[in-house]
Every structure is written in structure tokens, then in C-alpha cells.
Symmetry: C2
Subunit: 336 residues, 2 copies
């Protein structure tokens, strides 16, 4: 494969070039005993004492590479994290790739390599895949869709409806890093910075909590950020969520970019932060556990669940209160 070779429509036609693309890039990087590129469907080894769960997610980020990751790491972490917050150990992934004609093969190769590394680090194997090629001008370079199968304890009690007034709300790290890192990577706003995306597997943060009594519910903050997770909880439970501005960790650089561009960091995407609702008496234990993890030192309690009627209320640093509305306009398309 020379550096100048590009993906052509013939790479998507089912014939020789497609076979070479799959063998030379996808199967090579993703090789594992369960992956069979010559099969229509692949068996899953699922022990009957565990409950299998499934999730799916699409990825359209632009640019394909950004500080802290690329669309390949994102496609692993996004789906792995949906399993992790559900109390499951991620086990299997499937991968659907929609490649735009003209994408350099070297770019695809690098992305699949980092996808493979992220999968290995998260303990999942890619067992099935599909590639399509769309004509130039009908895609964004590369779109990925991953589906994940994980296993959780059959008595796992995590449930959004288990949340009750008085519960503490915790976040595992600073919010908005992914959104700002991608924004800076686009170089649209003449801003520069060294901020990296928080794109990472949340398995280390979620696995110890899955069976901890007092942990009600976890959700990873992604599109729409922390505020959107808060709204989802408020809507599902009917309770108010009261967030303390002073407690919510936001990096200085994220805050700075938001001030310049008029964004609210609570709505900016994360890709490696989990929000947990826990009984107040176990908040400190969870925070201590998280803070002991690499990248967990900024974990914080950010608010509480109140009786109320499904609103998201921000207690500002200067002592006021304001509603955080549900996200309306899209600040930043193609963020994940």
C-alpha cells in the first residue's frame, strides 16, 4: 500500500479490491480468534449466568483525527461506554464502515489500527464487520457504526427509575474537553490550544460501581454534554436536578474557549466522563475510588436530586439559580 493510494468505488463492490481492503486493513489490525471475515454471521460465546446487553452507536466526527483520539478510538469508546454505564463488561463489537471514495488508504489504515488498539485496551474483540464505499461528495471521509454486546450480572439493579430525591450527582472528570478539542482541531475559529479529548474507556470507572449498593444509575455524557444527561434523568424520574456551578469541573482552556465563542461548557460533548446518581452515604466512597484512577483526580460531586417536577437547576457560583434548558440549536455538528 503506497501512501498515495486512495479508496475507490471498486473497493466497495464485493469483488477483489474489497477483499484486499478487508484482508489488508480490517482483518489485519482486528485479527482475533472470533473474527471470521468469510462468514455471514459469527457465534458469540455468552455464559448463561450473565445477562447479555446490546447497544449501537454511529460516529461522524470531523476531523477524523483530533488531539487525544480519532474516529477509530471514538467508535470503540462510545459503544464500550454505553455498555459500561449499563453495568456490563464489554465483550464483542461489530463494525460497519462507510468510506468516502478518495479517502487515502493510509488514513483508513491508521484509523483501523487505533480502533484495534482501543478495542484491545477495553477488552473487546471485533467479531464482524461490513464496509461500504460511497461516491466522492456523498460522505465525510469515513463514518463508522459499532454495535456492542456486553455481559452483566443478572441481578444488576442500575436503573434510572431507582434515582430518588436526596441522591448525590457525581461526575468522573472535567466536562467539555472533547467538544473543545474537536473544535480546536477544525481550526475554524482561529483558536489554538493543546487540549486533548477525554475520549477513553469508562470501564475502570463503571465496573466497580455496577454492583455497589447505593449506586442507582450511571450515564456517560456525550452529545449535548452534562446538561443533556441531567435533562434525561430529570425527564425520566420527574425529579429536579440541582447542579452546583462551583462543583462542576471545567478546565480553564474549555472555559476560555466557551467565553470567547459564547458556548456553555455544560452542553459540550464529553467522550470519557460518566455521571452517576448515588445514595448520599456512598458519594465519598465513589469519589475516592474514582480519584484513585488515572484520569480520575478531578472527579467531583456536582449536585443533588431534589423533589420537584423534572427541571434542571443550576446554582451559580455567585449564589443565584437559573434553569439549564434542554439543548435546542446545535452548537457543533459532527462532534462524535
Amino acid at each position: 500500500m503506497s501512501g498515495a493510494e486512495l479508496v475507490t468505488l471498486a473497493h466497495g463492490n464485493g469483488g477483489r479490491l474489497m477483499r484486499e481492503l478487508i484482508d489488508g486493513i480490517f482483518a489485519r489490525h482486528l485479527a482475533n480468534p472470533a473474527l471470521r471475515v468469510d462468514c455471514d454471521a459469527v457465534p458469540l460465546d455468552l455464559p448463561p449466568d450473565m445477562e447479555p446487553v446490546v447497544t449501537t452507536d454511529g460516529f461522524i466526527v470531523e476531523p477524523l483525527h483530533f488531539p487525544g483520539g480519532d474516529i477509530g478510538t471514538l467508535a470503540v469508546h462510545g459503544t464500550v461506554n454505553d455498555l459500561a454505564v449499563s453495568g456490563a463488561h464489554p465483550r464483542y463489537l461489530t463494525l460497519g464502515a462507510m468510506i468516502e471514495e478518495g479517502l487515502p488508504l493510509a488514513t483508513l489504515d491508521a484509523i483501523v489500527a487505533s480502533l484495534a488498539a482501543a478495542a484491545a485496551a477495553a477488552g473487546v474483540v471485533v467479531v464482524a464487520g461490513d464496509t461500504k464505499v460511497v461516491p466522492r461528495g456523498h460522505g465525510g471521509g469515513l463514518y463508522l457504526t459499532t454495535t456492542g454486546v456486553g455481559l452483566r450480572a443478572r441481578d444488576c439493579a442500575l436503573d434510572i427509575e431507582a434515582i430518588r430525591p436526596g441522591d448525590a450527582l457525581l461526575v468522573s472528570g472535567p466536562v467539555g474537553d472533547h467538544g473543545v478539542a474537536v473544535m480546536l482541531a477544525r481550526e475554524e475559529f482561529d483558536l489554538r490550544g493543546d487540549l486533548a479529548s477525554d475520549c477513553a474507556s469508562l470501564v475502570p470507572f463503571c465496573a466497580p460501581l455496577a454492583a455497589m449498593s447505593g449506586v442507582r444509575f450511571m450515564r456517560d455524557a456525550t452529545r449535548g454534554g452534562l446538561a443533556t444527561v441531567a435533562h434525561e434523568i430529570a425527564r425520566a424520574t420527574g425529579h429536579d436536578l440541582v447542579l452546583d456551578e462551583a462543583g462542576i469541573p471545567v478546565r480553564e482552556q474549555v472555559q476560555g474557549v466557551c467565553e470567547i465563542l459564547g458556548y456553555d461548557p455544560y452542553y459540550l460533548a464529553c467522550e470519557g466522563r460518566v455521571v452517576a446518581a448515588v445514595a448520599p452515604e456512598c458519594a465519598e466512597e465513589v469519589l475516592a475510588l474514582w480519584r484513585a484512577l488515572p484520569d480520575g483526580d478531578a472527579a467531583e460531586m456536582i449536585g443533588t436530586v431534589g423533589a420537584g417536577r423534572g427541571r434542571v437547576i443550576l446554582r451559580t457560583a455567585i449564589g443565584g439559580e437559573r434553569f439549564l434548558d434542554e439543548l435546542e440549536e446545535d452548537a457543533l455538528p459532527r462532534i462524535c
Copy 2:
């Protein structure tokens, strides 16, 4: 939803409009007891006496609607058929949608409705989904990715490596219908016709064969058509595949379009045809079974497996022989 409403970038941002899009279109049509739109991951009920298998497939067809189906029916049948030919009963689907800004909501609604109808007919439920919106000019209206989980008998013996010289090759119906139907729907070539795609669930054709002794292997012909399935078998087994031109069912209209445009019908996409390799003594039983099914009346024996070295040989109607090469150039991009 008025007929003039279009998908906007804000429909993909995780906020209010995305929630309304999911509730108003996806969840409404796809509603079933297992679907939870407020969950990160959804439990699968998989009986331990059966083997779960998984497959994934992406769909980029243009135009989105064509005679005999649309991208929604295709996204169900494509994945269901990969499970069916593996000897599995399709059980669960996940759905990833990448929607281009500007797609009429009414178009999306109609497609999700037909996807739901196809899923119900095939006996699968959609349990998880994801939507992304790409900016205008970065997509092809709508791209879908489905992942399917099915269940098969743990002693299922279907295996491409079980194929041996002397086996009969059967096809369940005429080939190339999907390719020509989509081509005609594009109206690029100033050709008209009333041909419908063969897009359909292959469960009725595959389920009775899964446990039949003498049935070695099944594969659905899709991209690259019958010739590509033949090459996949020849490559995996190392045997020659000898196809009889006189036996291969091709509709007159497909043959006619191929003659005008210089295509070979054996390379044109199908979306509802299965090729089976079976022991010679059970060929008639399988054909009788298939011919008794709706849409199975044109099932035929199309060739045999020979000792050899992995070539695909066509015995022409006039008594000659020629090699069917592996597909190189893409006759028709965005076919499925």
C-alpha cells in the same frame, strides 16, 4: 409533522429536536416491549440451549426508494438474510441511522415505517438505535447500519468447508433483479421497466434447510451477485465451481438491460436469493421445498462443485466454457 419539514442539524445534537425525532418517528414505528429509547444498552433474552450469532451490514442505496422496496426494507432483509443463511432464526436488530441535513421528515418517516413492517414480517424486533445527522453535502440522504442477533442450533453443521466435489449448487430464484431494479429507478440510462427488486427475507428458504442432512452451506447473493458467491466458495474450499449457463435463472428484462449496457447478470446484486451447496442426493428435495414457497417457483440447480483449484467456470448455453473472473470494476455503486 408537516410534509415540508426537513431534518436539521439540531435533530442530531442530543437535545430536544433529537428526542422528538426519535420519539416521533423511530420509537413510534419500531415500538416493541424490548425497545427502550431511554437506555444505554438493552438486555437480550437468549435461551442457553441455542447458539447466538451476530452480523452487521451497512446500506447506502440510491435512490432511497425503488420498485420492490426501499433502504428500510433492505436494512432489515440484508441483515436478517445473513443470519438466515447461517442457519439462525433472526431475533434482534439494532439500527444506526446517518441522516443528511435536508432530508424530508416525511421521507424518513416512510422509510422507518417500511423498515418496521419488514422487521415484523421477518420476526425480528429492533431493540436499540442511534441517529446522527450529517451536514448537507456530506451524506446521501440516509445511510443505515443494522446489526442482527440470531439463534441457531448448537449442532448446526453448515460450514463452507463442508462443501465437497460432487455437491450440487442451487439458487432460490432469478438473479440480478435488485441490481437492475435500482438501476432503472435511477433513470440514468433512459431505460424504463416494471422490474421489482427481489429484496425479501430468506428465512422461509433457509430455516427448513438449516438442519437438513446433506445441506452443506448457504450464502445469500448480494453485492457482486452470484459470481461473487461462487468465487467466495471457490476460494474458501479450493474446489472448482462449474456453473451451467442454461440452468441459471435470469429474467428476460434483466437479460435485456444487461445486453444494452454490457453488464453480466451474474455480477449484479440480488437481495433475496440464496445459493446453497448440497449433497447431490438431496438437491431435488431442496428444490421442491423452495419451489413450493411464494417467490420460489424459479429455483434451479445451477451447477456442481468439481475437483480443481478454486476456479469459477461457466458452461455456456452453446457448449463452451469460460472463466468467470472475480469482480474488478464497480458496475454500479450504491446498490445496497
